[in-house]
Symmetry: C2
């Protein structure tokens, strides 16, 4: 045992760390000397990686907002710019595929800045041996999704890596949109008294993917909710006087998204579990799989944080839109316990719902 434990302690001491030459890495190497799956979870470790490793290196006025996209002004116009990579497995699943997800994902990130979508790029990383018909099916799906969202795919790139060095196909989409004058939506604007709306039933995408992976069968197939939300956002913006925050709760689910907002705006968020819309089959699947739906990814839902005055018109507008029929008010913003999300459970208790720690569902998007 001794030689082994000596090696381990030497390894952990970082005494001979070549990285020391260029400044020490701010993540404690003793805890995470390697990237783990949870670094991509959208939860605590993702946040740590971004806030401790990435943000300090590239600190600028755009990144600091920690929005779904960067907002910049040029020629008197405000633009939103966003990027997202997609590594979902399997690449085809009930309700969608990686191509559709890639288009919707970036369109939605931009829509969460209140922007109207303009241009999208697509960067493909293909694994040698990918069946050409699969690639073709993904391309057709992207075309359809782009057309339906009203966005033009204007530039692209294709790389191929040797067999076994990627998994079929990874897609990056980046996008640019124009933000209309008067719209000022970002996570820092949540304030006490605001209400939290979710546009429909949660946890559908994550459970659709997990059902395929685990071979679960239900009476009716659970299909991903992947959808472009820019139409719904347009409707909401038209109904409201001043939307404070929009966020699509993808990886890490609604609680990770709300935790980020609570931290960013230094407010508390109070949820009512009984009001959170959750389908019976998704609920059942979560129980079977041991997953908490609050942490499961959505790909066609949004959270809106609005003033009490905007609540009624926004909720009505959402419910009149096909993607918001089941919209519900699920909570409110408070000045208690800033930075935390608390939830009144169905049985009446109150608990803190923290960010996702660890990784429930790797490669969900």
């Amino acid at each position: 045992m001794l030689p082994e434990s000596t090696a381990t302690s030497r390894e952990r001491s970082n005494g001979d760390d070549p990285g020391a030459l260029m400044g020490a890495c701010p993540l404690p190497l003793t805890e995470y000397q390697e990237i783990v799956l949870a670094h991509g979870s959208g939860g605590k470790l993702s946040q740590q990686l971004i806030q401790q490793v990435l943000l300090p290196q590239f600190r600028n006025e755009f990144l600091d907002v920690q929005h779904d996209g960067a907002v910049f002004s040029e020629a008197g116009t405000r633009f939103a710019f966003s990027t997202d990579s997609f590594v979902v497995s399997p690449i085809f699943f009930p309700g969608g595929d990686i191509g559709k997800l890639a288009v919707h994902g970036t369109v939605n990130d931009l829509a969460m800045c209140g922007a109207r979508p303009l241009y999208l790029s697509a960067g493909f990383i293909l694994e040698e041996g990918l069946p050409m018909r699969d690639f073709w099916a993904v391309v057709l799906s992207m075309r359809e999704a782009a057309a339906a969202s009203g966005v033009a795919l204007v530039t692209g790139d294709t790389k191929v890596v040797d067999r076994g060095k990627a998994d079929k196909i990874f897609i990056n989409t980046s996008g640019i949109d124009v933000i209309p004058a008067g719209v000022n939506i970002h996570p820092g604007r949540a304030q006490p008294g605001d209400k939290v709306i979710v546009s429909g039933e949660i946890a559908v995408h994550g459970i659709a993917i997990m059902s395929v992976r685990e071979g679960l069968e239900f009476e009716t197939e659970i299909a991903s909710d992947t959808a472009a939300l820019n139409g719904l956002v347009h409707t909401v913006l038209a109904a409201a006087t001043d939307i404070h925050v929009l966020r699509d709760p993808t990886r890490g689910g609604i609680t990770s998204a709300l935790s980020e907002i609570a931290q960013r705006a230094r407010v508390g968020i109070y949820l009512e579990e009984a009001n959170i819309p959750l389908g019976e089959e998704v609920k059942g699947a979560c129980e079977i799989l041991g997953l908490d739906p609050l942490y499961v990814a959505n790909e066609g839902k949004l959270l809106a944080i609005v003033s009490a005055d905007d609540l009624a018109p926004v909720l009505a507008a959402m419910r009149a839109h096909p993607l918001g029929e089941k919209a519900m008010v699920i909570g409110s913003v408070t000045d208690d316990h800033p930075g935390l999300v608390c939830m009144k459970t169905r049985i009446g208790g109150i608990r803190i719902v923290d960010m996702l720690s660890g990784e429930q569902l790797p490669r969900i998007c």
Copy 2:
């Protein structure tokens, strides 16, 4: 033998191709039923994949230019938008690493539109188990490269895939730049009488990578030429009255880039082999490895196609810039044999230099 050959012919007939349901794939599936490495080469198969599979699906005024970036106008200003994914192996190599390459690559694609760099996004796909210190080194390198190029990294995304499903780290960078008024650079503008300039010695990046992979040792280490070319482009633009074409000859080397330009502008290009700058060690390495330097990737060189009047001032300006000291006039644009690149060889013959077919150097960038 019989059963096997029957299976093969059935497989090739595509009679039971599910893809047929959604429209037949325009690439002959009988030849390439699967993605092969050459689809990522930057040569003939890459072009086929882009022109036959991707472009027809997303046909629009931006993509049709087949430029390094898409050019669009908004609020009276022209913007360039470009994307590139990086999958180079190894991720650290003499003269650079995947992070530096990712920043330079997109800065250069935008610079080839004559744009001044503004904003960059970074999308990381990390393999579980990547040493944190390697990720850290890549991030620091990106910071340095972004600062040196004068571009701000404003938005990002991080995904993690399970061990064995990617290769350490893949990076996508996308970027947005503003094109100054009066600048109109694109491949379609090459015209008979124009001269072709290369900014320095070719094939350096590809040979630097291959030397590491093959364990070749030379008297002095061959280091990648990776560099941000926007400074050099700025100098060139200031010296010229009207630059016609700029192109950074990365994957597929200078001949694949020139072939694309010849095809796009429907002109011939005539090269003088004796004038093409090629370092002695790179030349030697190409001979050892059996590679044609005309097809080997560059990451810090540009091709400029300019009118005869602009030739002298542009060449002088380039040679006065550290990245263009060894610039040479290597050929001219003709109205003979439109669409083809011909070369007068050192021994006096004339041969057609076609696009790269197959893949010389996979995962070079």
